[in-house]
């Protein structure tokens, strides 16, 4: 069992901490997929667990041994915890079979013969027995990663950490490595895998960590995370939403600059010219023409979400003041124009929210 308590990691060169206060328990036999946008500390979390990164604060226990304790015999703990790297990191001066035999002989005191027999068994398992006497630089990326997995397994670890094992591979080789990992997931070992392959993550894991905002943002079963994400960022990530948010807090806000923001956002996300025009139009009519004139002290938050997969855009506008359905009450011309840009509109009011009025506009596509 892995137990993490108040883990914090900051790099000394920039003061922003990449992990802020992570606490989690991982049970034996869990297969955990760690997903999330880049730069949210997925690899850092993994590397903290076997102390390749030294945590700035916090404690980690592996099977009751606190590895963050300076007196801990780190070598012994690491022997029970294999790691597979994005860049394979096979030992370049040794043949494939020696790569696998080295650690069991050096660290577990296995005889040459035992290490060899076990090594060959593992090589057969990953389908590379015939490459036993080749050097790593003679192999393809997929073959290297399968060897790296065999090398990790040779130490018979209880926990295996896989840090983006297929990210450095040619798309044609991803399959062979995933197949090996899939088999691994069935062996009952504790697995923790950082990956960007959502389908793969969903297929092998029984638990998913979605990482964002410096920690485990949402923790749940694959069904929960992929089909019914509870939290906003998870939903956006799973649906691959591109989001633009801005706030207007004065009648005299810089309209042209805001319109420029929207243009830039559309351009960056390769939103089609027509859709971009409609987004701009919807914003202009609803916010600039209808809302700003009526609100005495405008506090308007606009959020535009664009889904690349569905090529659809949704604009959500939340604003203060008494109940006022901006999608129905306004001058005729703006409403007409709004209608031409939007396919569906709905208005809701939630008295408890900071900005009680909400208008959701589905931008017309195609």
């Amino acid at each position: 069992m892995i137990k993490i308590e108040n883990l914090m990691k900051a790099y000394s060169n920039n003061h922003q901490s990449i992990l802020k206060d992570v606490s989690v328990e991982i049970n034996d036999g869990d297969v955990i997929a760690v997903i999330g946008p880049s730069g949210t500390g997925k690899s850092t979390l993994l590397r903290c667990i076997n102390l390749l990164e030294k945590p700035t604060e916090g404690h980690i226990w592996i099977d009751g041994t606190e590895i963050t304790d300076p007196g801990c015999d780190l070598g012994k703990v690491r022997q029970k915890m294999g790691m597979v790297f994005q860049s394979f990191n096979l030992f370049g001066h040794l043949t494939v079979i020696e790569n696998i035999m080295l650690a069991p002989m050096d660290l577990l005191g296995k005889s040459r013969q035992d290490a060899y027999d076990e090594g060959m068994r593992l090589l057969r398992m990953v389908g590379l027995a015939e490459k036993a006497l080749n050097y790593p630089d003679e192999l393809s990326g997929g073959q290297k990663q399968r060897i790296a997995i065999a090398r990790t397994l040779a130490m018979d670890p209880e926990i295996i950490l896989l840090d983006e094992p297929t990210s450095a591979l040619d798309p044609t080789m991803v399959g062979e490595v995933q197949a090996v990992i899939r088999d691994l997931a069935k062996t009952g070992k504790t697995l923790m895998i950082v990956t960007h392959e959502m389908n793969f993550a969903r297929a092998i894991s029984n638990r998913v960590f979605f990482m964002d905002e410096g920690g485990i943002y949402e923790d749940g079963t694959p069904e929960q995370i992929f089909d019914h994400p509870q939290k906003e960022n998870t939903r956006r990530f799973i649906r691959k939403l591109k989001v633009l948010e801005f706030r207007i807090d004065s009648k005299d806000y810089d309209f042209l600059a805001t319109a420029g923001e929207i243009d830039k956002y559309c351009y960056k996300n390769q939103i089609s010219w027509k859709t971009a025009h409609r987004i701009r139009l919807a914003f202009e009519e609803l916010v600039q023409q209808i809302l700003v004139p009526v609100l005495a002290q405008p506090d308007i938050k606009t959020m535009i979400e664009y889904s690349e997969e569905e090529e659809s855009a949704v604009m959500t506008v939340r604003y203060n003041g008494p109940a006022f359905d901006a999608t129905q009450n306004g001058d005729e011309l703006p409403l007409k124009l709004l209608e031409s840009a939007v396919s569906e509109m709905c208005y809701t009011r939630d008295e408890n929210a900071k900005r009680p009025n909400q208008a959701v506009l589905k931008i017309r596509t195609a």
Binding site: L52, G75, N89, F91, A103
Partner: protein
């Protein structure tokens, strides 16, 4: 008629040399550079022959170039007599002779007996009739309390042998007598009830001090030995470069210095001088052709110098390769000198490689994990060692740091080169280990390897193949760099070459012989490292050795 006698010799070297050596050494690449060297030398010699008007008097030397041995007082003497000459400095008399012959200088001053001997050995040089001045040689004694007593003792003894006429007799023996009579007492076997005197001398200044075969002889040695014998001292002779003698006395490395040292007021400030034991005159040596001297007969180049021989010199001078070879290697068993020189060079090189590698490795291991103090100290030491010319480092070690310790120059050289080689090895390791990807460490750590074991099992085996080619280069540089140990009284190959040149006054042959020997030594060491390089490269292993001791079929 203009003679071509001696000058034709260097031009003959290149052609014959090739034939003589190609079948001996098949190192073709090295031969190629040797050919280049020979062509350059030949070109230099050829140039030297042509211009230059005859110089027959001091008057003709006005505005000309004069070469002077470093550390002597000749520059002052020359400038007093000929104020507008251009002075350049050379390390030894043989260098001056070569410079003269290759037209780098128009003349050089020297003590009359020395230059006369040089004329006898090597034709093409003559002296001007006029003398620049007269001078006196004294025994230099270190300025200490013990030195003061020694001074009185020496002066008393000198007065006694002058009175008896023995001094005159000895001077005549060394400056005018036949070579067979020029012997010195066997000072090594003196009982030394009053202690051993260390004597610094140049050992390249015939007839005052020089090597005959393996034996150090000359008037200076003879006198010192006789004094020691008479007064119950042992004698230990330390050969060194002339300009190292006074520092050796000041630092206490030597008790007395005898090397044809002229007594001057300036030198008296740093050492005591005995009463003079020799009075001579300074003469200027010039090219024979330049001096306009007629040839003795219509003889061809091969017998050009016949009959010039003096001081018991009777062998005919054939200016040919065989003759040069004979003079350089065979006469007086000089090959033994070369053998000892090669051994000294090899000893210094090999010990420096071993200790330097150990030092560099040890320092690297201490600094590897980024220990702040260790890194700081290392950076400072490396900055110090690398910033200094090696020759300066050696002299500082020899004369200052080990100034008051009786330590052989060889050990000082080994220490000096261990330091420089150690810094090189440190740099190579840093560079080589730096090329290893961070991921190799992480993979090893993740498997459970400790930091130390990771380094030795995973990192170093991969770094060594990167390091070895540059390491080989460092070793070759090291052999060449050891050529400067002559500065601290070590007789390595280069110094032996100088010593032999100081006797034969052969301009080129010893230089080329020394060059060839260096090439052979470098070739041998590079070959050895090449073998290691193959052994150390894990990828060059035979497939059957990879799985030795394992049954490969189930």
């Amino acid at each position: 008629m203009r003679t071509k006698g001696a000058l034709s010799m260097p031009r003959m070297i290149p052609m014959k040399k090739l034939k003589d050596t190609t079948n001996l050494y098949t190192l073709k690449k090295r031969m190629l550079s040797l050919i280049l060297l020979c062509v350059l030398l030949w070109a230099g010699a050829a140039c030297a022959e042509d211009d230059a008007a005859a110089i027959t008097s001091l008057e003709d030397l006005k505005g000309k170039r004069i070469g002077v041995q470093t550390g002597t007082t000749f520059d002052k003497i020359v400038l007093d007599a000929l104020p507008d000459v251009k002075i350049s400095f050379y390390n030894t008399n043989p260098d001056l002779a070569v410079a003269l012959k290759t037209n780098k200088i128009d003349g050089f001053p020297g003590d009359e007996p020395v230059i006369r001997l040089m004329m006898a050995e090597e034709g093409g040089i003559t002296i001007l009739e006029e003398r620049l001045d007269h001078f006196e040689y004294g025994i230099a004694i270190s300025k200490t309390e013990a030195g003061e007593k020694l001074l009185a003792e020496i002066n008393e003894w000198l007065a006694s042998i002058r009175g008896s006429g023995e001094l005159d007799q000895l001077v005549r023996k060394w400056t005018d007598g036949p070579e067979s009579e020029k012997t010195v007492p066997d000072y090594a076997s003196f009982p030394a009830p009053n202690g051993v005197l260390n004597m610094a001398t140049e050992a390249a200044y015939a007839p005052m001090n020089y090597y005959r075969g393996n034996e150090l002889v000359g008037l200076d040695i003879d006198l010192a030995a006789r004094f020691c014998e008479a007064r119950g001292y042992g004698l230990n002779v330390l050969p060194m470069l002339f300009d190292g003698i006074l520092p050796a006395l000041q630092s206490g490395k030597a008790d007395i210095g005898m090397s044809g040292i002229t007594i001057t007021e300036e030198r008296k400030e740093s050492v005591y001088f005995s009463d003079p034991y020799y009075t001579g005159g300074t003469v200027i040596a010039v090219l024979k052709k330049a001096a306009g001297t007629e040839q003795t007969g219509g003889s061809g180049p091969l017998q050009g110098e016949n009959g010039e021989g003096a001081g018991g010199q009777t062998e005919p001078q054939m200016n040919s390769i065989q003759d040069s070879f004979y003079k350089t290697f065979i006469r007086e068993d000089r090959w033994k000198l070369f053998v000892s020189g090669v051994l000294t060079t090899l000893l210094i090189t090999v010990l420096s490689i071993l200790f330097g590698t150990a030092l560099g490795f040890g320092v690297y291991m201490t600094c590897r994990n980024g220990n702040m103090a260790a890194n700081g100290i290392t950076r400072f030491c490396m900055w110090l060692v690398q910033g200094m010319p090696v020759v300066v480092l050696l002299m500082i070690l020899y004369y200052i740091i080990f100034g008051s310790v009786a330590i052989s120059g060889i050990y000082v050289a080994v220490i000096g080169f261990t330091l420089t080689f150690g810094t090189a090895v440190f740099g190579l390791l840093k560079m080589g280990v730096g090329t290893i990807d961070r991921g190799q460490y992480e993979a090893a750590y993740a498997l459970g390897y400790t930091n130390r074991r990771t380094f030795f099992r995973i990192i170093l085996p991969q770094a060594i193949p990167h390091i070895l080619p540059a390491y080989k280069g460092e070793i070759v540089s090291l052999i060449k760099a050891t050529a400067i140990v002559g500065y601290i009284a070590v007789q390595d190959l280069t110094k032996i070459g100088d010593i032999v040149r100081s006797r034969t006054y052969e301009a080129f042959f010893p230089l080329i012989a020394v060059t060839i020997i260096y090439f052979i030594l470098e070739g041998m060491l590079a070959f050895l490292i090449g073998k290691i390089q193959i052994r150390m490269n894990p990828k060059k292993r035979k497939p059957e050795s990879i799985l030795k001791g394992v049954k490969t079929h189930d």
